[in-house]
Symmetry: none
Subunit: 231 residues, 2 copies
């Protein structure tokens, strides 16, 4: 199963919070609780929940105001849970920045389904940033596409070769020790097989370096490990 989803419920009524706590599988959802609007805003800022469940009838401020305040600085999905079923209440809350509105009483199944919708939405906009592409000289690696080029021509790497190169790229410029490389690529049980590294670094140099005997990018740090130079 994936990681645990952190939810925040902002509601002063203990029975509702109890109900949610009892209904949501703790292996799937972590439930934070706030009893009023100010506390809800504070906890949102501090704990960065994946979704906020917001009641409208709060003791210190109106729920619509809470939604508006949150929207000033966060895009966290807000699902309003309210006993008020009047249309104008819904419109006000949705226009204030809420993403969904459920009228009490509601079924847990529907709530969870709507939470899934909210998570789908927040996940989608997150993968907008373009592919992380590493470039240095004639070497070009697209980690999202799992593709490697040298001087414009595509190079095929075996799984281990690629894993090794990707690891070096993620720590470009830094020295990675033999142990680190072996543990990450082959697994903790192989941390003494330094010979593997010599073989595979050789293969990578052969495929990627202009003059494999005098590596420009994949350099050796004698007695320590290897490093991917960035220039």
């Amino acid at each position: 199963m994936a990681e645990i989803i952190r939810l925040l419920v902002i509601d002063d009524e203990l029975p509702i919070r109890r109900f949610l706590r009892a209904s949501l599988d703790p292996k799937e959802y972590e439930l934070l609780e706030a009893e009023n609007g100010a506390e809800g805003i504070r906890i949102t800022a501090k704990s960065n929940p994946a979704v906020v469940l917001l009641d409208l009838g709060l003791p210190d401020m109106d729920g619509v105001e809470v939604a508006r305040s949150l929207r000033e600085w966060t895009q966290v999905p807000i699902i309003v849970l309210s006993a008020r079923g009047q249309e104008q209440d819904k419109i006000d809350a949705l226009d204030a920045g809420a993403d969904d509105y459920l009228t009490k009483p509601f079924g847990v199944g529907e709530l969870v389904a709507r939470i899934r919708v909210a998570l789908r939405h927040s996940g989608r906009s997150a993968d907008d940033p373009p592919d992380p592409v590493f470039e240095a000289g004639g070497l070009r690696v697209d980690l999202a596409l799992r593709q490697v080029w040298r001087d414009g021509t595509e190079i095929h790497l075996t799984p281990i070769e690629y894993k090794l190169l990707a690891l070096l790229i993620r720590h470009a410029g830094k020295v990675l020790t033999h142990k680190q490389l072996l543990t990450e690529v082959w697994g903790p049980a192989y941390e003494i097989e330094t010979h593997y590294l010599r073989v595979y670094m050789g293969q990578l140099r052969h495929k990627l370096e202009a003059t494999p005997a005098e590596p420009r990018y994949l350099t050796t740090e004698p007695g320590v490990g290897y490093r991917l130079r960035t220039e």
Copy 2:
């Protein structure tokens, strides 16, 4: 005011369409209409509406299926409008890819507020028409119509073949691991059946590649997975 928002309502009941047409300000919303699921999908592909309003009780196919079909190739917000108020109906529709669910009868104000929410989610500019057609060389796939051509002639694919191909197209260029493919196409329980992939990739190559033994598009990444090359 900004430009006119194009909506598509998929509903076979004329009174509902009339009601929407009468309620929505034509200076603000342009309302397209479809009387059944197939027509709805076609119009979505052709006219790229900003939001789809979907009834569940359609004459030709279930609304949940329409949502699922749309989600195979487009991210357009889907708001379900249904007389079915059962919780399970809502869960099914939302999990099939719908973004919101209103039970009839509903107020126009609430509907419009939820449309505004949907527009907020889909991003300010709705001007990136999702291309439901994938093309590369002699290969052409219309994800909206579920049709495939090679060099102009239509190719018939079995359900699994199509699912596999559509998945590769949605991540065109990227490597999809065996596990990802098996989980998405066959389900999480099948993630070790890598042989299925070999068989079905073979069938796809046989149907789609000019020389199946030297695939140009459906390429293997040994030890990792498969990739659909775009050029």
